[in-house]
């Protein structure tokens, strides 16, 4: 900025110096125009200098103006205002200067014209005539004197001529006398200064004199002043001279006459010269005046542009600064131009940008802090194994952590900014989950917890969901739902519970059974022969009953044990259709007159399953059905396999349907729980084991009423890339020891 100021200052000084030089040289030129002795010779050089100076000034001003217009076209900040100010300055300077110029030109024309006056001209003419008249008198006198000399020279022999001439010259006061023959040959001369070259009259004069005329003329001397030349013929008085002779006398004009005549002539010449040069003189003055005008105007223009630029500079800086601030650059610090109002404005602007910059930095720091916290929260959330969803108050999903996507089997972004209904529409298997959330949102409870069961690509999933409303001082802002995949946990808990029951039963029930049986057998053996026949029969029946019942109890406990202690799954690819056909074949030839119909879907693929457990599953189901249909004449068992898409996930379905009495309507949901049975016989574990096997395979099972009125059990086993592997199945085994310890 200092450099800019310095260059601007030097530019200003340069132009002012140029202007001063131009003005000085124009003044000298104006002096020179009047042909002054001092500067007359410099006129052309001055004219050239001024022209070049003006050209430079024009170039500088023109460049400035061009730059200004270019800036105006480019819509540079401040250019418009600068141009307006320049226009104002120029108008302010051009108008008065033009008026002055106009009147100056008028005055110049009239002033120069007024130098010339008819009376002065006449007076000068008269003065010249007067000079001539007075000189004429002198000339006549010299003519008379010369004629007298000529008469005295008559008959003077050439030998004496020089002597006579010298005498006559001294007598009559002539400068020089010369005696010539008519042809022009000099006979004798008499001169004050002998060294002077003979000044012969020219041939025309001689011719005139030869004809008997006299010649008298005034002419400038060889060195200075005026001389009178008189040439007269000498009369032919003597016979010894054959040729006519001529006498020339040169007379000086007195100094006083000379001075006056020169003065008059100089004045006259000067006046005539001035009159002749009137036109060029006017032109010259006009040129000088125009140059002065041009120099003044150009300097004014330059000054106008420069002043306007300086004046506008802070405003332009402010405009640019404001623009920068509006674009978010708060580091603008403008140079303070002066101590005036503009300077105050600029200082205020600087203060403002400082404050803004500080505020922006603060905001950035806070935002960064917030982002760090947010990132930290995100990290925490993403490292959680629980799925976390947050929703806006209108139910649309706002955030979801990685675990949420993983548990629900969707890409996380797919969930964002959508309502649960929307999600359920594209992912039908998520419907129970979404419906659960929707329901609780609708109910508007501040906190809730509930399980949801899904059947997705990963098979059956039990989700434990807990929801909570988010509120602040403004009220409800959203909801958060945290959910865990507790499928394995539930399974494990159940297994643990049943395992504990089985252990207790074995311990508490099965252990006493053997002594009871033994005791009963012992009583029978020991006392049946010692009592009477009637009593013996009673004893036999009673002990028999005890033994039978104990055996039945043992069987029941064993069956339960079997249920509780299911062995590890051995998953192998199993052809379900073949397995079903094989098992059903056993029952087809059974004498129970049951019609077994197998409807196998050829599209059913190989599934990963434990064939032994699956066989058990089928046996249990068939057994359950046959027991239910016991006593019916037209018993029919239908087994159907299907390969289908269950809510977008491929699965294999096995349906077993009988035409028995069907499930009681109040126990359809409980039929798979242990010891829920409507039959007089049975352990009550048949369907429970079936359900357990299905769940071990990650499948779903449901009981429903068949169209024929009988019972219908539908099993869906997942199929796809995500089948449970053996390891996964092993993981299903509950951490028994731990749970038992609890």
């Amino acid at each position: 900025m200092v450099a800019v100021k310095r260059s601007g200052l030097s530019g200003l000084l340069g132009v002012l110096l140029l202007f001063a030089l131009l003005l000085g040289s124009l003044m000298i030129m104006s002096d020179a125009t009047q042909n002054s002795a001092r500067f007359g010779r410099l006129y052309s050089a001055l004219l050239l200098f001024n022209a070049i100076g003006l050209l430079i000034l024009t170039a500088i001003s023109g460049y400035q103006l061009y730059r200004l217009i270019a800036q105006y076209r480019a819509r540079t900040a401040g250019a418009r205002l600068t141009l307006r100010l320049v226009a104002l300055f120029v108008v302010l300077s051009v108008v008065p200067v033009s008026v002055v110029y106009y009147f100056s030109v008028q005055f110049l024309q009239r002033g120069i014209d007024s130098w010339f006056d008819v009376r002065i001209e006449a007076a000068l003419d008269d003065a010249l005539d007067l000079s001539r008249a007075s000189l004429d008198l002198r000339m006549r006198e010299t003519l008379r004197q010369t004629q007298r000399m000529a008469s005295q020279m008559e008959n003077v022999s050439p030998g004496l001529a020089t002597l006579s001439l010298t005498e006559l010259r001294e007598t009559f006061g002539a400068d020089k006398l010369m005696l010539m023959e008519g042809a022009g040959r000099i006979v004798a001369t008499a001169s004050e200064d002998a060294s002077i070259v003979p000044d012969r009259p020219d041939e025309a004069i001689l011719e005139q004199v030869r004809q008997g005329k006299t010649h008298v003329a005034l002419y400038p001397g060889r060195q200075s002043g005026l001389q009178i030349r008189v040439v007269v013929p000498i009369s032919e008085g003597s016979t010894m001279l054959t040729e006519q002779r001529v006498l020339q006398a040169l007379f000086p004009v007195s100094d006083r006459f000379n001075t006056l005549a020169e003065s008059v002539e100089a004045a006259y010449d000067s006046y005539r010269q001035l009159a002749f040069l009137r036109g060029p003189l006017k032109t010259s003055f006009l040129i000088t005046l125009s140059l002065v005008l041009a120099a003044s105007l150009l300097t004014a223009l330059w000054t106008a542009v420069e002043s306007a630029r300086r004046l506008v500079a802070p405003v332009r800086d402010l405009a640019e600064g404001t623009l920068a601030v509006s674009k978010g650059r708060y580091d603008q610090r403008l140079p303070v131009p002066s101590n005036d109002e503009l300077g105050f404005l600029v200082m205020s602007f600087n203060q403002m940008t400082r404050n803004l910059s500080y505020a922006r930095d603060q905001a950035t720091r806070s935002q960064r802090l917030l982002e760090r916290q947010r990132a930290y929260l995100e990290t925490v959330l993403s490292s959680l194994s629980s799925g976390v969803l947050t929703m806006r108050h209108d139910g649309r999903l706002r955030t979801a952590n990685t675990a949420a996507g993983q548990i629900l089997g969707v890409v996380r972004d797919e969930l964002l900014d959508r309502s649960p209904d929307d999600v359920a529409a594209t992912r039908p298997y998520l419907e129970p989950f979404c419906e659960l959330i929707e329901t609780h949102l609708r109910l508007g409870r501040s906190e809730w917890a509930e399980q949801a069961t899904l059947f997705g690509i990963n098979g059956r999933q039990v989700l434990m969901c807990r929801g909570s409303s988010l509120t602040d001082d403004r009220g409800l802002t959203g909801h958060v739902v945290v959910f865990d995949d507790i499928t394995t946990l539930v399974q494990a808990q159940r297994n643990a519970a049943w395992g504990e029951v089985a252990r207790r039963m074995a311990h508490e029930i099965k252990n006493p059974l053997t002594p009871i049986q033994l005791a009963a057998e012992r009583i029978r053996h020991k006392y049946v022969g010692h009592v009477g026949e009637d009593q013996g029969q009673v004893l036999d029946r009673a002990t028999h009953t005890i033994i039978q019942q104990v055996k039945a109890l043992k069987e029941m406990v064993d069956a339960f044990n079997e249920y509780a202690h299911s062995p590890n799954l051995k998953l192998t690819p199993v052809d379900l259709n073949a397995l079903v056909s094989e098992v059903m074949f056993l029952y087809r030839d059974n004498p129970g007159s049951i019609d077994v119909v197998v409807d196998a879907d050829p599209n059913v693929p190989m599934v990963n399953a434990d064939s032994v457990r699956m066989r058990q599953l089928l046996h249990n189901l068939v057994k359950n059905a046959t027991e239910a249909m016991e006593g019916r004449a037209d018993s029919e068992l239908r087994v159907r396999t299907r390969y289908l898409e269950h809510e977008g996930n491929p699965c294999v379905e096995i349906a077993i349907e009988d035409n028995g009495p069907g499930f009681p309507s109040d126990s359809v949901t409980d039929v798979f729980e242990p010891y829920v049975t409507t039959k007089a016989k049975g352990t009550g574990l048949g369907l429970a084991i079936v359900k357990k096997i299905v769940e071990e395979h990650g499948g779903l099972i449901r009981a429903e009423a068949a169209r024929t009125g009988g019972a219908r059990v539908v099993i869906q086993l997942p199929y796809g890339e995500t089948h449970r592997t053996e390891d996964a199945a092993a993981a299903l085994e509950p951490p028994r020891a731990t749970l038992v310890g609890d």
């Binding site: 009047q34 042909n35 006129y43 052309s44 005026l226 010449d269 000067s270 005539r272 010269q273 032109t283």
Partner: protein, 190 residues
């Protein structure tokens, strides 16, 4: 050409110079100054110049003259030594200036040699111009200043000196062909 000239005898060269100048001086009506002929002669120990010039003035200078404006003619004479590869070296340079003026009192034309201040007056303009165009025995150079083994060239021209005119007339004179009078350079060997 110039070196050839130097071996020729002096009278022959002089004759050739007159002829050449006479050929180049073509008659024209425009205001001009022509060098009709010029020669240098060795007069004792001094080279002197004889030249004949022809002045033809236009109406503007004549009108100015009649109105008392003096006109200065400048005779520029240079003695040069031709050099190979380099431009000619100027050994001597002479400016002979003549002022030509009409005197209103005596109604005569005055020619003043500004170098010697010698004045000659004439009844008519033609006489004065004839006087101006008749240059005889103008000493230009001492022979002692020259190397007799070298060949030298003399060149001459006449111009009307605009800078001697009154200031108001100068700009006009520079712009008018009537005033920009200058003869061609006439060159011959010394």
């Amino acid at each position: 050409m110039l070196t050839c000239l130097s071996v020729l005898s002096a009278p022959t060269v002089t004759l050739m110079a007159w002829v050449m100048l006479a050929c180049t001086a073509n008659a024209q009506d425009d205001p001009s100054v022509r060098i009709v002929g010029a020669e240098t002669r060795l007069d004792g120990e001094v080279y002197s110049l004889n030249a004949d010039l022809e002045y033809a003035l236009g109406s503007e200078p004549l009108e100015a003259l009649a109105n008392g404006v003096p006109i200065v003619f400048e005779l520029q004479i240079e003695v040069r030594e031709p050099r190979r590869l380099l431009p000619d070296a100027t050994l001597a340079s002479l400016r002979q200036r003549y002022r030509f003026k009409f005197l209103s009192l005596t109604q005569r034309y005055l020619v003043t040699n500004l170098n010697t201040n010698e004045r000659n007056s004439f009844r008519s303009r033609e006489e004065a111009l004839e006087f101006l165009g008749h240059i005889r025995d103008l000493p230009i150079l001492d022979r002692a200043l020259l190397d007799p083994r070298e060949a030298y060239l003399v060149r001459m021209r006449v111009i009307l000196d605009i800078e001697s005119l009154p200031a108001p007339l100068r700009l006009l004179a520079y712009l008018s062909s009537q005033w920009r009078i200058s003869s061609e350079w006439a060159e011959w060997s010394l």
